[in-house]
């Protein structure tokens, strides 16, 4: 059998995935922290103030990568949701469901930092332009998936329903975005461009790249940790979980 396929099958089994996630998650989280630490330092200290916006544009280094992540994670969630619905793979269900809270977190960061950026720069906390409105709807889509997953008792049925909802939401998102674009043309003057007309100074690029890659690595690491926790909780009646946790619980040690 194709070695890659074999690896997928093997890692897809719960006990193997638990080991895989436990081993690899730190290899994503710590480099992510390092990259983001450097990125934040550079964003605050090294990069000069923007000639138009002054210092408030430094928020961009948080806001833009978070916005990209909020969309990227939704696509990742939808892909896993599709796999879960079509092939009924339990691990894909858990991966998809674990994506949702991380995606919601980045969407919340995007919305909040967007507001913090908007106030000093354009004088308003909020505007109903296409991007901000779509981002708000995106937050509700994430929360809807999480809410539906929590509302059904049978975990596998809940995951299937929430995955279905995630896929419906995926179709909805571009529709919302373009309908708001059209709607804003009716209400001239209400649009606010989030990224200014000024082309980006080359000095600003490295921290932005660092934050972009850092947040992606963080996502993978966090996804592995969350999925592992969900897997252990869902399989807690099984022998392999007992063997895994028992030595620790009998020692009274927590990890």
């Amino acid at each position: 059998m194709n070695p890659l396929l074999l690896w997928f099958y093997q890692t897809g089994s719960p006990a193997n995935f638990e080991r895989f996630a436990k081993r690899w998650s730190s290899w994503f989280i710590w480099p992510a922290c390092a990259l983001m630490a450097w990125g934040i330092y550079a964003a605050l200290v090294e990069v000069p103030a923007d000639y138009q916006q002054g210092n408030s544009y430094r928020i961009l280094f948080i806001h833009v990568p978070s916005a990209w992540m909020s969309l990227f994670i939704y696509v990742a969630m939808a892909v896993n949701a599709f796999i879960a619905l079509v092939w009924r793979i339990k691990l894909s269900e858990l991966l998809a469901m674990s994506c949702a809270p991380i995606g919601a977190a980045f969407t919340a960061i995007t919305l909040l930092t967007g507001a913090f950026w908007g106030k000093p720069t354009w004088g308003t906390w909020w505007s109903w332009d296409a991007r901000m409105t779509s981002e708000l709807v995106l937050l509700f889509l994430y929360l809807g998936v999480m809410g539906l997953y929590a509302a059904i008792e049978d975990r596998r049925a809940a995951a299937r329903a929430a995955c279905f909802l995630a896929l419906i939401g995926l179709v909805n998102l571009p529709i919302v975005h373009y309908s708001v674009v059209w709607w804003n043309t009716l209400h001239q003057g209400a649009t606010i461009r989030l990224i200014g007309k000024s082309s980006i100074d080359p000095a600003m690029v490295p921290p932005l790249i660092a934050m972009t890659i850092g947040t992606k690595l963080w996502f993978v690491g966090s996804l592995l940790t969350r999925t592992r926790a969900a897997l252990i909780e869902q399989e807690s009646g099984k022998d392999w979980v007992r063997r895994l946790l028992l030595p620790i619980t009998s020692r009274g040690d927590t990890r």
Binding site: V137, F140, L141, L143, G144, G147, L148, A151, I152, A157, R160, A161, F164, L165, I168, G169, N172, I175, V176, S179, V180, W182, W183, L186
Partner: protein, 227 residues
């Protein structure tokens, strides 16, 4: 006996549901009454000045009808779930999508059509300019079926959940946003002198797609929710 197929299934469920609604025909007026009440809240909150109300009238009417449609969705599958008919539908040889479509059509006819008839009344209450009435009615005629179809998918997904009312609303509203934007926006465009054809055509296109896609999606959702 004719061969069971999608058309016979559709016709059977359609006439059954229509008969059931007729037996409780008083209930069919409730969404319309709700819409009138909600629309009345705005003058009460904002003051009775005709100019203010006229400006927001199309939007308020759209929101009122949207909320009324949302609230009336809950009963789409409830009685069938309670008496076991829903399971029979799922086991029937006819395609489940056709049966679901019949239910959605009856639901639209009995809940949203009265709303459409209430719209001119609401327009008068909110001092909406008469020139806008035609666009409003067309946008509602295209929009309310869309809302029913999209809502049916979400209701199917949450069928059988107790206390699902608020969750249903939270899940459905983000999906309703484009319909509201295009529907209310088309009337706003007409109010500002622009053509509303673009938005209306988009809604019509969406409706055509949903007529095919939504029953299929709702059938899948039912199977997911009830396994």
């Amino acid at each position: 006996m004719t061969e069971p197929n999608a058309l016979t299934g559709f016709a059977a469920v359609f006439s059954r549901d229509l008969r059931l609604v007729w037996r409780r025909r008083g209930d069919a007026l409730q969404p319309a009454l709700f819409a009138v009440l909600v629309a009345s809240l705005f003058p009460l909150a904002l003051g009775p000045e005709p100019q203010t109300l006229a400006r927001i009238a199309p939007g308020v009417i759209w929101v009122a009808l949207l909320l009324a449609s949302l609230l009336s969705l809950d009963v789409l599958f409830r009685s069938d779930l309670d008496d076991g008919s829903l399971e029979q539908f799922m086991l029937a040889p006819q395609p489940l999508a056709a049966l679901v479509m019949a239910k959605v059509v009856v639901h639209w006819l009995t809940s949203s059509l009265p709303l459409l008839l209430a719209a001119p009344l609401l327009a008068e209450l909110l001092f909406m300019p008469h020139e806008l009435l035609q666009v409003l009615l067309v946008s509602l005629a295209l929009g309310t079926p869309l809302l029913s179809l999209i809502g049916a998918v979400v209701v199917a997904l949450t069928v059988g959940m107790r206390r699902s009312g608020m969750l249903l609303a939270l899940l459905a509203l983000p999906l309703y946003v484009p319909v509201l934007i295009l529907g209310a926006g088309s009337v706003m465009a007409a109010a500002q002198g622009f053509t509303s054809n673009g938005a209306l055509l988009l809604m019509a296109a969406g409706l055509v797609m949903m007529l095919v896609a939504a029953p299929l999606a709702a059938a899948s959702a039912l199977r997911i929710a009830l396994t």
